[in-house]
Symmetry: C2
Subunit: 298 residues, 2 copies
Amino acid sequence: MKLPEKVKIFEVGPRDGFQKVEKFIPTAVKIEIIDQLSGTGLTKIEATSFVHPRVIPQTRDAEEVLAGIQRRPGVIYSALVPNVKGAERALSAGADEINAVVSVSETYNRKNVNMSVAESLQNIAAVIALAREYGRKTVVSLANSFGCPFEGEIPEERVLEVARQVLDLGAGGLVVADTTGLAGPLQVRRLVGRIEEIWPGLDLTLHFHDTRGLGLANVYAALEEGADQFDCSIAGLGGSPAAPYASGNVCTEDVAFLLKRLEIESGLDLPVLLEISRKVEEVVGFTVPGRLVKAGLR
Amino acid sequence: MKLPEKVKIFEVGPRDGFQKVEKFIPTAVKIEIIDQLSGTGLTKIEATSFVHPRVIPQTRDAEEVLAGIQRRPGVIYSALVPNVKGAERALSAGADEINAVVSVSETYNRKNVNMSVAESLQNIAAVIALAREYGRKTVVSLANSFGCPFEGEIPEERVLEVARQVLDLGAGGLVVADTTGLAGPLQVRRLVGRIEEIWPGLDLTLHFHDTRGLGLANVYAALEEGADQFDCSIAGLGGSPAAPYASGNVCTEDVAFLLKRLEIESGLDLPVLLEISRKVEEVVGFTVPGRLVKAGLR
């Protein structure tokens, strides 16, 4: 066990969470929530995505969101981009950091973006180059790193191979993602252990979904290997719009509670996160997956 | 890490889960669900409670439930009892095993059963003696072992002290319970480690609630200390009736999925558990807290 003393939590709710909510969340509400989140100790917020509005209409207001928020010093406002065109939009709109995605599963990547993994990597190379022109970092998410709904188990070596390619292209950090909630703690410990062994000091973030209930067990397992950066989503949003009660990303405030119980410093203001989570529940109009928001701290 | 090779899952949904559902679940439905559960590899089912019907009307049919179920060889059908009178009813009705409860928190125990811990222990001594006359074992649950909503943190020594008293009275096993979902993984590892050190070979069960989202992380932490018996509830029922979407006990099928991902043998039939969970959701009439039942295995 080598639990870290400090952990950074990155908020992905405004992107990974809100994009899954069926109704369009008004731009002003998104901005208000991002501005509240930026005051809770979160050090990075994925504010929106620059995927084409035809594909994800929920983030058709990406430029307006980035223009409307109050930039809080010390907080990185990142944006997800699918390609160079999206990256151009994001960088012009003032995104501090770019998140580009490739799946380590060939089948998933083709189904998701209609490209081979190799094509996606070329794409990412161009995104990284463009971001550099703007003096911005690109972090690359490795989707399905712990299993694929189509291919099943993904060999660890495959994840490491794509990670190496992405780092060779100049990525400034990696997000190892359990896109559909298939990871288990042993697998997490093994993969995180390997990555830290191969690339000590790497800007590594773990991104778990609680789709099958193992989200926080996986966060704990990653912490045991010393991982200290996690993507989380306020209220646990991120489930499929077809199943609004199904849980999505690991829930920001639940992870903050885990860290508190583990005596790990996160710098997060838990009571304020709970207030925001309650507000998010009102905004989306359905019961959110987060646990703590229903029970309270005591 | 000393993950066990095999783990036993005990089902408490028919008692801890159903008692929290506002409407009365028809006796025939309870019996049908218990009979389905007994075919999934679960080795113990807490079938009902013999608390006075004025206090918990949901289990006013305790005798009928025990009389109506089909006893499957190898499955222990236990019942919760609050006192000797309840134990008499349970033993006459054919309960295989008795579950008696005492809180390690003086305040909680008084609020819950209007007795001091010392009085509850006297009570339990009488229950154990009576059960012995019937040749039956009494397992004692130590409520609030990981924290109390009134007293806050509970010192580990306090839990160990009550555990010792209970074992001195002749309890056949201990259930260490996180009654209101306050436990964290470090605390779990410490307490489980201490108990196993002091009483190696003890019939020890961990009973976690997922009230604040840490349920499965706590199960994983206990497994890391070698714990191999867990109370779980089908569909994750057990939340307060005042907050039907708030989660209760750790969810049987989600824990079964965790064990599967950890390559630990549980003997559980996961697809059948999912079928039963879906049925339970229909019966209770609200969205249950379990995750896997919404997402499916893939």
